[in-house]
Symmetry: C2
Subunit: 505 residues, 2 copies
C-alpha cells in the first residue's frame, strides 16, 4: 500500500518500527479496551477515572509532563452525585525551540456495550478475527488515542527527534455530553492553549473502507424532549382506557408532526437559514470515493432517502442551472452525501416513560417524554431553531385541544462547524496520507457532531483538522465495534508522518 518513493527518509525508521512492533501496538489497544470506561453508567465511573490515570502513566513514562484536572462532579438523574473523570493535559517540548505546537484531542470513555445486545465477542476483550480488532472503543476513540502513543514510541525508540511541540487534551466524558469540558478549554485559552499553532482531532472515520480522508465539516445537534402528562400516576389500561386523554396519543400526534416519511422537517422556519449549496461544493462531492450501493448494503436497505427520481429532481434543478449542465455525474451519490453532511435532519430517538421492554404491559403511562434531535448545519442558529421548535410544538399541541400538560425541554446544543482547508495543517495531513497510502485523501464532511472541534477553533483561533484512521464500517456506538488492524497500523504511520510534515510545510 505504501509507495516507498513518497516516504521521507526521516520517516523510514519510524515506519519500520511501527511495522515491526505491530503486535505490541495491538496489545496496547487491548489493554485500553479492557478498562470498562463507559461514561454513561454510574457503576463504571471508577473505570472511567482509572483509564485517565492509566493513560497519564503511559505519557509520563515517555517524558511528557501531565496534569489530571479535576472538573468537579456530576449530578445523576436519580440524585446521585458522582466525580467526573479528570481531563488530562500533557505536553512534550520539541528539541528545536522554534518548533510549532500541535494540540491533539482524544477521549478514552466509551459507549455502553453488553454482550446481550448482539456482540459476537466480549466487548471488553479486544478480539482479532480476520484482521479486524473487535472491542468497545477500538475505533471510538481508544484506537486513535493509542495511535498517538504509538507514534511517540516510534519516534523515541528510533531516536528520531519529534519535530513539533506536542500537547494533549484527553477527556473521559465525551460519550455523555462532555460535562464541564468546554468551560475548562475556555479557561485554558491564555495558558495551556496560548501557544497552540494547529489542532488535530482523531475521533471520526473514513467515508468508506479503503480511501483515507480529511474532514473539514461537522453538523451540530440540538436535542429536545417533549413531555406530555395526562395523569399523576400510571393507570390500568382496562379500567381507565376509553375515558382518559392518553399522554401517549398526544405525544404520537406531536412526533408525527416533526418529520415526514421523505425526511422533510415539518417545523416552519427550520430550513430558512440553511446555507445554499454552491456549484464548487457540489463539484467537490462528485469526485469523492463513495459507493452508494455499498452504503445501502451496509445499512441493509433497498432505498435511501433522496434516491427517488422526484426527490432528486426537486433538489437538483437549481444546481444544474448554476453549473450550466443538463446532467450531472453521480446525481444520487452527491445528493446522499449532501443530505448526510450539509442538510439538517430530524431523528426521533424514542419515548421515555412508556413500556419499552419485550412482551406486553397494559399500563397507561401518566407521563411520557418523546426525544428527538435536529442535526444542525451552517448557517442555522441553535437558539433560533430551539425557539421555532418550542413555538411549533406548543401550537400543534393547542390544536389537539387536549387537557394534558405539555412541556418542551432542550439540552444545550452544539453548533455546526466547517473549516477552511487551505492551510498548512490540512496540507501536512495530505502529505502524511500520501506518505503512507501513495495517494491524496478525500476532503469530507461528517453528519455527526464533535462539538469540541468548534470550541478549539474558537479558543485557539487556529486551524482544526479531523484526521480519521478508522473505516466507515467500524460500527462506532453499535454492536461489534472494531477497527481493522491495517487501519490501526497505517493510521499510526499517518499520525507519525503528519507531525513530520507539519514541521516541514
Amino acid at each position: 500500500m505504501t509507495s516507498a518513493s513518497e516516504v521521507p527518509p526521516e520517516l523510514s525508521p519510524v515506519f519500520a518500527y511501527i511495522d515491526t512492533n505491530a503486535d505490541q501496538l495491538v496489545a496496547r489497544l487491548a489493554e485500553a479496551v479492557a478498562i470498562k470506561s463507559v461514561s454513561a453508567q454510574a457503576d463504571t465511573r471508577p473505570d472511567t477515572i482509572r483509564v485517565m490515570q492509566w493513560f497519564a502513566d503511559k505519557l509520563r513514562a515517555r517524558g511528557l509532563s501531565v496534569e489530571l484536572v479535576d472538573i468537579g462532579t456530576e449530578c445523576r438523574p436519580d440524585g446521585q452525585t458522582l466525580p467526573l473523570p479528570p481531563v488530562l493535559l500533557a505536553s512534550l517540548a520539541a528539541t528545536d525551540p522554534s518548533a510549532k505546537t500541535l494540540l491533539v484531542y482524544g477521549h478514552l470513555d466509551v459507549q455502553p456495550a453488553d454482550r446481550a445486545d448482539g456482540w459476537r465477542t466480549d466487548p471488553f476483550v479486544l478480539t482479532e478475527v480476520d484482521g479486524r480488532l473487535y472491542g468497545r472503543g477500538a475505533t471510538d476513540d481508544k484506537g486513535p488515542v493509542m495511535g498517538w502513543l504509538n507514534a511517540i514510541d516510534a519516534y523515541q525508540r528510533t531516536d528520531t527527534a519529534i519535530p513539533v511541540n506536542l500537547k494533549f487534551v484527553v477527556e473521559g466524558m465525551e460519550e455523555t455530553g462532555s460535562d464541564g469540558f468546554d468551560e475548562l478549554i475556555v479557561s485554558l485559552k491564555d495558558t495551556f492553549l496560548a501557544d497552540v499553532d494547529y489542532v488535530c482531532i482523531s475521533d471520526n472515520y473514513w467515508l468508506g473502507t479503503t480511501k483515507p480522508c480529511l474532514t473539514y465539516g461537522l453538523r451540530g445537534i440540538a436535542c429536545f424532549g417533549v413531555e406530555v402528562e395526562c395523569a399523576h400516576k400510571d393507570l390500568h389500561s382496562g379500567a381507565y382506557g376509553g375515558s382518559v386523554h392518553e399522554a401517549m396519543t398526544d405525544l404520537t400526534a406531536l412526533l408525527y408532526r416533526l418529520v415526514d416519511s421523505k425526511g422533510n422537517i415539518l417545523i416552519p422556519g427550520v430550513m430558512d437559514d440553511v446555507a445554499v449549496q454552491t456549484a464548487e461544493e457540489l463539484a467537490a462531492y462528485e469526485t469523492i470515493d463513495f459507493d452508494s450501493d455499498e452504503y445501502r448494503r451496509e445499512i441493509g436497505t433497498s432505498r435511501l432517502l433522496y434516491e427517488k427520481k422526484a426527490d432528486i429532481l426537486a433538489h437538483r434543478d437549481e444546481y444544474r442551472r448554476e453549473i450550466g449542465t443538463s446532467r450531472l455525474l453521480y446525481e444520487k451519490k452527491a445528493d446522499i452525501l449532501a443530505h448526510r453532511w450539509r442538510y439538517p435532519s430530524l431523528f426521533i430517538h424514542g419515548v421515555e416513560g412508556a413500556h419499552s421492554g419485550p412482551g406486553v404491559k397494559t399500563v397507561i403511562p401518566g407521563k411520557v417524554s418523546g426525544k428527538f434531535s435536529i442535526r444542525l448545519v451552517p448557517n442555522q442558529c441553535p437558539d433560533k431553531i430551539a425557539a421555532q421548535v418550542v413555538a411549533y410544538l406548543t401550537a400543534e399541541f393547542a390544536k389537539l385541544d387536549s387537557p394534558n400538560r405539555l412541556s418542551v425541554v432542550n439540552r444545550p446544543p452544539s453548533k455546526p462547524w466547517v473549516a477552511d482547508t487551505r492551510n498548512q495543517n490540512f496540507t501536512a495531513a495530505k502529505l502524511a496520507v500520501r506518505s503512507v497510502f501513495g495517494a491524496d485523501p478525500d476532503l469530507t464532511r461528517e453528519g455527526g457532531s464533535i462539538p469540541v472541534a468548534l470550541t478549539f477553533e474558537e479558543v485557539t483561533g487556529k486551524s482544526v483538522l479531523l484526521l480519521p484512521i478508522g473505516g466507515c464500517d467500524d460500527c462506532a456506538h453499535s454492536q461489534n465495534e472494531k477497527i481493522d488492524r491495517k487501519n490501526y497500523i497505517s493510521g499510526t504511520k499517518v499520525l507519525a508522518a503528519y507531525i513530520h510534515h507539519l514541521a516541514n510545510v
Copy 2:
C-alpha cells in the same frame, strides 16, 4: 357498617372470629406479599413457584386435598427456558352430600415492583399507614386469595359447617398471560370441573371507594405489535441521519393513524359490531354510585374523554330518543362509564427497540416495534378485528412509500364477557353484601380483561360471578398498590357470607 339485623344467626360467630382475629389475618397477607412472586421476571421465578407451594401447604393444613399441576416450561424472549409455576387445584367436601359446589379462582403472582419506580415503602413488605395496607399484590390478587383462606378459618375455628363443596383453581402466571392455563382448564372439563355449580372470581375492584359491587362484564383485549425495520443494525444518527428512511419515522406515522386525540379508533370496521347500547343498560348506569369529579381527581386530569359538550351530544342523541326524554340525569357519568365498560378503546403501549431511558442516545434503531392493544366488547370478534388491523396497517404503510420492512404480530386475544345476573350465584352474592354492608351492591362491568372468566363459563356452563373486595383506588399494577384494612376484613366476611347464602338461596 354492618346492619346486625341482616346477619343470619349462623354467620354471627363467623363474623365475630374475623373481627377478633383481624391482626392475624393481616399478618397472613404480609406473609404472602413478602414472597416476590413477580411472574414476568426470570429472577423471581423460583419465588413464583414457592408462593404456590406455600399456599398449597396452607390449604392442606386445613384439610383440603391439593394437587400442584405441572404445566410445563416457558421459552423466554432471550431463549432461556424456565419452569412455569404449577397450577393449584384443591377441594374441600361439605358434610352435606347434596351440597352445591363452588369453584373459586385466584392468582398469587404479581406485577413487577421496584422502590425506584416511586413506591413510598418496600413493595414486598406489607406496610400499614392510616388503615391502608401497602404492598405489591395486596389487592391484586393476594388479598382476595387470603380472604378465602380467612373465610375457611372463620368457619373451621368456630365449628361452623362449611355449607358448600369448595374447589380452588389458583395460578401463578396471571400477570404474564396465563401461559398454558386455558389448556389445563379445558382439559379438566369432565373431571375436576365436572360437578361445579357456581364460579366465583375475586380479582377485580369496586367501582368507587365506598360501595361494594358485583361485576357481570369485562372487556376483552387484542394486543398487537407493529414492527418496522430500516436497517440490519443500529446506525449513528449523525453519520446516517438524512439518508435513511428511519424506522421510527414510519412507526410514528402508523401509530398516529390508530387513534385520534378524542379517543376515536381510526381502523375501518373496528366499531361495526359493537353492541348497541339499550335504554335498559343506560338506565342501569344512571343509578350507579360513581363520582366523576372524584375519578378526575384520582387520575389528576382536568377533563376526561367524552366530557366535551359536542362529544356528549354526538353519543347521547340516540339514547335520548330511545328513552323519550329531552334530558338525561348524569349525562357525563353514564358516558364515562359506557366508555370504560362497553365501548372499545385503543391504547398505545410504547415502543420497543428505540431509546427509552433517561438522557440522550443518538442511535437510529435498525428495528422498532410499536405495541398497542384494543379492548374488545360484545359483539366484536377478535379474529375479525385482527384481520382489520393487519389490513389497515399494511395499507397505511404502503401509502408511506417506504423501502422499510413491516410486520404486524398479534398475540392470542381474549374475548369480552358479559353475564346474565338473574341467577342464584348473583343473588347469593347480593345477600352476602347486604349481610355485611346492610345495602345492595351496584352491578357493574369492568374495562379490563380477565380471560379466565369466559373460559370458566364456557368450560363449566355455569354462572361466573366477579366478587371484588378492594377499592378503585387500590392502584393495582401501579406504584403503592394497597388494600384498605377495612376492605380486606369486610371482604373476608362477604366471602364467608356468600357461601352461606349460596347454600340457602
